[in-house]
């Protein structure tokens, strides 16, 4: 049946009159006001954020890169110092500790020979001191305390002993024959 214009007007006017119940609108209003606000709108310092939460966020990449750089630097530094300290292994012949120990042992042995022979050679004595001074600088690295103390004792004793005990003895015999 065709709607008459009058009937349509009447329907539309009735639709305009639809409103919520006063009670319903009051309840809804209270609910809306009481609802908790969204977290992202609040300042960050009032909330504690754990590392785990941070990693789960976009900061993960920065930490990844940072730790990679740190480890790489550590490896470079370690290998740098390691090769400096490990050079005894890489260059066994040029081991300063061993060369110094050999030099000191040879020096003492040579002093004993020179003393027994009674050679008054001042130039060889000077070079003795040069070698001792040079090897003295390396002594800080020597761990072998036995070599150190024995060689030191020998050097001191040899320096204080008379080079030609034979000549001394002969001059004393001369005193006795007068």
């Amino acid at each position: 049946m065709k709607m008459k214009n009058d009937q349509l007007k009447g329907l539309l006017q009735e639709f305009r009159r639809i409103t919520p119940r006063a009670e319903f609108s009051r309840e809804s209003r209270t609910l809306i006001i009481a609802r908790k606000p969204n977290i992202s709108t609040i300042q960050p310092h009032t909330v504690s954020v754990t590392w785990a939460q941070r990693l789960r966020t976009g900061a993960f990449n920065t930490i990844r890169i940072g730790s990679f750089v740190a480890v790489a630097t550590a490896i470079i530094l370690i290998s740098f110092y390691a090769t400096r300290e490990l050079s005894p292994l890489l260059l066994p012949g040029l081991n300063t500790q061993r060369i110094t120990a050999e030099a000191q042992m040879l020096n003492s042995a040579m002093n004993i020979e020179l003393n027994n022979l009674g050679y008054f050679n001042t130039s060889s004595q000077e070079s003795t001191n040069a070698l001792e001074q040079l090897s003295q600088k390396q002594l800080n690295h020597l761990n072998d305390t036995i070599i150190k103390s024995e060689v030191k004792e020998l050097n001191q004793a040899v320096a204080s002993s008379t080079p030609t005990s034979s000549t001394d003895l002969n001059s004393l015999i001369q005193e006795l024959s007068k």
Partner: protein, 309 residues
């Protein structure tokens, strides 16, 4: 094949044995030196006492004579003991020395002759000791005569023997030291080779240092070999024609090059002192050479980091 490798490894131990033989005999040699040295100090003190006694005016004459006599007896006894110790030290060093394989018979001959000389020296000192102590007719005058006699025998016969013994031991010990230097040079050679093969350095400094050390060590070897040759030709108790010729050649060669070391006259005594001076020069040259080589080694090893740039 495995056996060969094993054999090779044993040879690597040879330098270790040489090193140890030098290092282990050192304290013993040092102890010998201090025994005589401490005896000498004591004797010097006693001689000082004797002088003070002779100069003293407070002691009566007769007492003075007696005290002087007793003191002289003591001093002379101590002198004989010290002189015997000198012989004993030289003897043990010579006996312990390992003689070279080359010309081994000549070396043995030389050594045995000197040892026989030491036996006679001990007999002499024993006789002198008895004269000083057990003879009932000992007087101050007798003590003075004994002292004069000891001085004569010691300076003309016994001391030259002792000098010969120490010279032989020095020349042979220096040879062992040179061996240690050779081994260290070889190890360093491998390091230097490694450095240059891997192009770890552009500068020639390290190579130059190595070459210097190598040539100095070679010179030291030659000096020690010279000393040993001179010993063989001049210490031998029965020199033959070639020995005499060798000494004459040495004399003329050195006379033409250095006028200062060769005496103008050709007496036996001056010839002997010429030989001794030549031996002294060669042995000290070898020793100085070794010291210089190790100076270079130390410089190379402490500066190697700088060269690796």
């Amino acid at each position: 094949m495995n056996y060969l490798l094993h054999y090779k490894k044993i040879w690597l131990l040879v330098p270790v044995f040489i090193y140890m033989s030098i290092a282990l005999t050192m304290p013993q040699a040092h102890a010998q030196q201090t025994t005589v040295t401490s005896q000498l100090t004591h004797i010097k003190d006693q001689v000082q006492q004797l002088f003070e006694l002779q100069d003293s005016t407070t002691i009566p004459e007769q007492q003075k004579e007696l005290q002087e006599f007793r003191l002289r007896q003591q001093i002379l006894t101590n002198i004989i003991t010290a002189a015997k110790q000198q012989v004993a030290d030289a003897r043990s060093r010579l006996q312990d020395a390992t003689l070279p394989q080359d010309n081994n018979e000549t070396w043995k001959n030389i050594r045995d002759t000197i040892l026989a000389g030491f036996d006679r020296a001990n007999e002499y000192y024993g006789y002198a000791y008895d004269r000083v102590n057990h003879d009932s007719s000992v007087t101050t005058a007798l003590l003075k005569n004994v002292a004069r006699d000891i001085e004569q025998e010691k300076t003309t016969v016994i001391d030259p023997l002792i000098k010969q013994a120490h010279t032989i031991v020095a020349a042979l010990t220096v040879q062992n030291m040179l061996q240690i230097g050779d081994d260290r040079l070889e190890k360093i050679r491998l390091d230097v080779q490694k450095i240059y093969e891997q192009k770890l350095t552009k500068s020639k400094a390290l190579q130059n240092l190595f070459d210097t050390a190598s040539s100095t060590l070679g010179q030291a070897h030659r000096a020690d070999q010279n000393a040993q040759e001179i010993i063989l030709h001049s210490y031998t108790p029965q020199p033959n024609a070639s020995d005499t010729q060798y000494i004459d050649d040495l004399y003329t060669n050195t006379a033409s090059s250095t006028a200062s070391t060769t005496p103008q006259d050709t007496t036996q005594e001056s010839r002997l002192s010429f030989i001794e001076k030549l031996l002294q020069k060669n042995i000290t040259d070898a020793i100085t050479g070794i010291k210089s080589v190790y100076d270079t080694f130390l410089e190379m090893s402490s500066n190697v980091k700088n060269y690796l740039k």
